[in-house]
Amino acid sequence: MREIVIISGKGGTGKTSLTAAFAALAKNSVLCDADVDAADLHLLMQPEIRQQTDFMGGGIAVINPDLCIGCGTCMELCRFEAITDRFEVDTIRCEGCGVCVDFCPEKAIDFPTKRCGEWYLSDTRFGPMVHARLGIAEENSGKLVSLIRKEVRQLAEERGADLVITDGPPGIGCPVIASIGGATALVIVVEPTVSGIHDMERVVELAAHFRVPGMVCVNKWDLNPEMTEAIEQLAIKHNVAVLGRVPFDPAFTRSMVAGKTLFEYGEPTATQQQVRDIWAKIINSPSMNPLGIMDFKSTIQ
């Protein structure tokens, strides 16, 4: 089984729209939305939820005012300034380290585990999908990403699917690290802007750090052809495959408004063909076909 993770470093480069378009092309695959912090893929996939499971995070401190004698030990030990002058826990600041719990001389502090979100097994018109929703202002996004990636692999195995397509989170921090470890390859969607190229460099470095091969595709390339050129040169320099270019096309936004993928919206267009070509390059790439096994394409289409 192979897993491609679509990431971008910078948000808003069209990562999710492209992920959805790829999903429309890959017949025998399973989808995963690992952007748990601001999950959007379901807006295009309209998944039917089959199973919903709570995601339990770590504990959080709760002081019982009836037992507390106001000795101040907890406040002194808490490194996250989470205990207020009135000996109440600021749940937003509490890191869940439990140190105050263990050291309170009156055993006045409880440490209940918190429901941090939920995750779903669903069906979509393009096959099964695993997605999640992290609660507002919650921590542990990396843990939730690891959990749903484990689930999606298991699901793919059960269904005999050869490919997992994962929509990754933006940035280079904890959820991104959780979403790329052990992936077969990364598809990095870049926009041709100074920010885009800057963020791509950091993502490419991250990919190298975790030894996952990367491939780059420039979205909205015609907004700045020189920058597109520079991005592709940079990719080649870092040994990252260049997949191709997608033009700035309002059809992406229009199909999004309609809740559809690019391929389900309007008449066939040149943009659609370009995305098809990019997809063909991805599945024919050496990273997706190690050891020269070339039957992969036939198993997913």
Binding site: A38, C97, D102, I136, V194, G196, E205, L206, V257
Partner: protein, 284 residues
């Protein structure tokens, strides 16, 4: 006065808005780029960086001479960052949250602290605008401590504009908590609206007044405006999609410097925010 510029969804133009507002206000403003995973504001503000500091977070260091392998440290650690196996104490620095619990619990005083590098913080200036950003080390997963470090540089005497990271989880909270105003930037698309709703919930939880900028206001649909009205979220500025703006942005050129008519609109945006903050402080 601290104004945090945020957006649930990335790529809506948060950095464009924050940097242009800073440039429009000019000298005396302070700018903190708290999007430490992908800091971009310097590409538009073009500050001269005067100095750089490494930022570390404390992690335990065990003196095996003193250690009796009692396992109390591993028992207290909620993050599985320290374990004792026979006559060894293993530390997993990337899992450590720097809570200091192991150090306090160790009966032998065998634990001291050393630093794990989180990234760096840069200090600079441009035309009287004070500039500070954080850059997370590639491969480092914990951004909140670095964001908090950048935040601690805010000068309470100044107007501080913060470029916050995208999303709604811990990094964003670290960048927004304690701000006087959160300016949310969105685009009028289903993705933009969906993520805006999450951002609005986050801001409500923190109890900070907020307002909205709708970028590329003529693409997509009208749902964002209807939502803003329902939520009584003031729309403080709309920026239509213009290819020349998108192209200038792609080259790292700012809107206010490129198209002077925008300078006044960004100053106006700031004054609207100022008025909201003042009104609130007189009613509370």
């Amino acid at each position: 006065m601290i104004i945090s510029v945020a957006s649930g969804k990335g790529g809506t133009g948060k950095t464009t808005i924050s940097t242009n507002m800073a440039l429009a206000l000019g000298s005396g403003v302070e700018f903190l780029d708290c999007d430490v995973e992908e800091p971009n504001a310097h590409l538009f503000l073009k500050p001269v960086i005067e100095r750089t500091e490494l930022v570390t977070t404390p992690i335990p260091l065990v003196d095996l001479e003193k250690c009796t392998y009692c396992r109390k440290c591993s028992a207290i650690c909620r993050f599985n960052a320290i374990t004792v196996v026979s006559h060894k104490v293993l530390i997993f620095p990337e899992l450590c949250h720097s809570c200091g619990g192991c150090m306090v619990v160790c009966p032998e005083g065998a634990i001291t602290e050393t630093g794990r590098e989180l990234g760096e913080i840069n200090f600079g200036a441009r035309n009287g605008i004070r500039f500070i950003n954080g850059r997370l080390r590639v491969g480092e997963s914990m951004s909140p401590p670095l964001i908090k470090r950048v935040r601690s540089e805010a000068d309470p005497e100044k107007v501080t504009i913060i470029d916050a990271p995208p999303g709604t989880s811990c990094p964003v909270i670290a960048a927004m908590n304690g701000a006087d105003f959160v300016l949310m930037v969105t685009e009028p698309t289903p993705f933009g609206l969906h993520d805006l709703k999450l951002a609005v919930e986050t801001v409500k939880l923190l109890g900070i007044p907020s307002g909205l900028v709708v970028n590329r206001s003529d693409i997509g649909d009208q749902e964002v405006f209807a939502y803003a009205e329902r939520e009584q979220l003031p729309v403080l500025l709309t920026i239509p999609f213009e290819r020349r703006i998108a192209e200038a942005y792609s080259q790292g050129r700012s809107i206010v410097e490129e198209f002077p008519e925008w300078k006044e609109r960004f100053c106006e945006l700031f004054h609207k925010i100022e008025t909201i903050i003042q009104k609130r402080s007189t009613t509370v």
